[in-house]
Symmetry: C2
Subunit: 406 residues, 2 copies
Amino acid sequence: MAETADVVVVGGGVIGTAIAWRAAAAGLDVVLVDPARGDAASLVAAGMLAPVSEALFGEGALLRVNLLAVGRFGSFAAELEEVTGHQVGVRREGTMAIAYDPGDYAALIRLTAFRRSAGLDAEELDSRACRQLEGFLTPDVHGGVLFAGDWSVDNRRYAAALRAAAAAAGVRFVRDQVSQVLVHDGRATGVRLADGSGAAAVPLAAGGGTGPDVSAGAVVVAAGCWSGALAGLPDPLRSAVRPVKGQLLRLRHPAGMAPVISHTIRATVRGADVYLVPRADGEVIVGATQEERGPDRTVTAGAVHDLLHDAMSVLPVTSELILAETCAGLRPGTPDNGPIVGGTGVEGLLLATGHYRNGILMSPVTADAMVAYLTGQPPAPEWEPFTPGRFLPELASTESTAEGAR
Amino acid sequence: MAETADVVVVGGGVIGTAIAWRAAAAGLDVVLVDPARGDAASLVAAGMLAPVSEALFGEGALLRVNLLAVGRFGSFAAELEEVTGHQVGVRREGTMAIAYDPGDYAALIRLTAFRRSAGLDAEELDSRACRQLEGFLTPDVHGGVLFAGDWSVDNRRYAAALRAAAAAAGVRFVRDQVSQVLVHDGRATGVRLADGSGAAAVPLAAGGGTGPDVSAGAVVVAAGCWSGALAGLPDPLRSAVRPVKGQLLRLRHPAGMAPVISHTIRATVRGADVYLVPRADGEVIVGATQEERGPDRTVTAGAVHDLLHDAMSVLPVTSELILAETCAGLRPGTPDNGPIVGGTGVEGLLLATGHYRNGILMSPVTADAMVAYLTGQPPAPEWEPFTPGRFLPELASTESTAEGAR
């Protein structure tokens, strides 16, 4: 009944699955545990690979890790496609930031100056130039900026390919929920499963009188916004991750209609942000809300209205598209908007969560960093500001904080 | 393989099922044929029983048959509930017509004067009185009118109860599609099924060389907007029915939220009509578009946006509700917006379709009229303007037209 592995990965979203694949490819024996409820945030995502158009004032360290991530994504996706034979739908047309009115444009230009000062590539576009690139944009748009290096990937194809690659590399999948990380003498020894062996009904003495359901020399927690629900994780880390609800829409073209956009469109409509991301298969993703509502995953009338309204404001032809799906996901947010990737102060217990809006983009480099930790190598220096230590009082004094490294 | 019955009813929406139930209850042996694709217009409906708030200038004859229908609905639903033990969710709080701006109000008052002149009950409400009846209405509404006699029913519960009642009365259901009404020597003899016996592959000589899959002394075509697709029906009747697409939304209250409305709200928002119909189980139906798009049943971004926008304009709290379902149905429209109920000039071939926006409301009286025809009784005089004869050149000269009877 009990499994044994070198590494047990908790969480089967794109972060956990990418880690499992790369760790197995590096020769480790890996078990991945996930309840397979289909509620991974990575399935409710637009798949934007957008370090540049996402970069905000005061998030320089985050921008650096995002740039590392986009630089890695192409080769990672190519290997993934080669290993699995799946196409993951990377689109390289670039991203257009669109400003609806003069106020939106002023804000975009300020942000563009900051992005340029960080060495990023950006081309300003007047209203006419915007419409030369995307003919269905309303003439009312005030202007925009082309970020040619901001791509996108089909998140669902990508997630499916990762799973296929992990399976092909020998990862064993356990369909269950982890209730607890088991720690013995200051070392992670494995995980306990909710339904695994009935052991969950046994009172859990600290240190564990009963054995783990999956024994492993290393435990990687990559359970997104649910990471904090895991007993056994240091308390400050449990409270560092929260769900940030995002609602989005999947639109489809009616039969016979040519694709209405080829670039990712990120629009600001009177201060409200909306994006439209085209897929190779003809879908257009429209997103996304950012809501602090705990674990609520309902789709609300107001959010659907607002997304459609803002999308139709910049791209009126959106009204003709088919509303194929409405969905909501829970991103793992953190106090500083940065991911939490690295050791936890408990030997053998690693954390890879808090990727917030950039989980798809960061999954390859997060997997690289985790494999480095698991095999005793140093991770890329861009990760230094994003270790779990910044939330652990006993370690924080010896480490830089995320934005202290700017 | 071949069935024999007194009556074969083509179509399992609320019209066909109500006819089948009442005919069986009258002692006839009935077969109902329906492909059970779940696309009956009656499943995509708000269930408004609203002759008064629906009455438009120039539709006096239609108003009279609708008034007959609403007078009958209560006893019909009561019998249906008693026979089946199902609750069909009739709500008797009445309907509030709401005018958003002064222009909407002027139009509502003109229409209300017409409805009053027809003897209908209507109570004018100023903005404050509107909000006394429905506290969540925006203070921006200009005014309204209460039509206390306009009720609603839960269309899906009603459809399910009709089916149970028909089954209990001995109606036999055949899950198939009718390809043709078979006519021999000027008399309907039954129907041919698409998948029934392989007979559909045999060339169909006029008059039928092969026997019918369901033989019956009478054929009742109640196939909604698909009625015109049936070979064997006189050509002018086949072209008299067309699909009119309607999109609507099913909203739900989040856990713990009290119902936001108790009346049906029919609002005009700057000339656009929207309705919100509360259900006993906490759903709120928001509808509906009226689109001439042939048999297209896709849900479009523009329609969902417009319905939500108009609903939120009069009832802002709508934004907090859960968007549980979006759907589209095809109403059977006719050139004069009136139903087509009665004989077709072919002996034993009856038609009951074209109910457009009032299929739920009219289903009891349509069943009554059909049972009258089937048993040699005269139907209610209100039906006279709505016989199929008005579309048949050889009969039209001897019959009054729908609005000629006004």
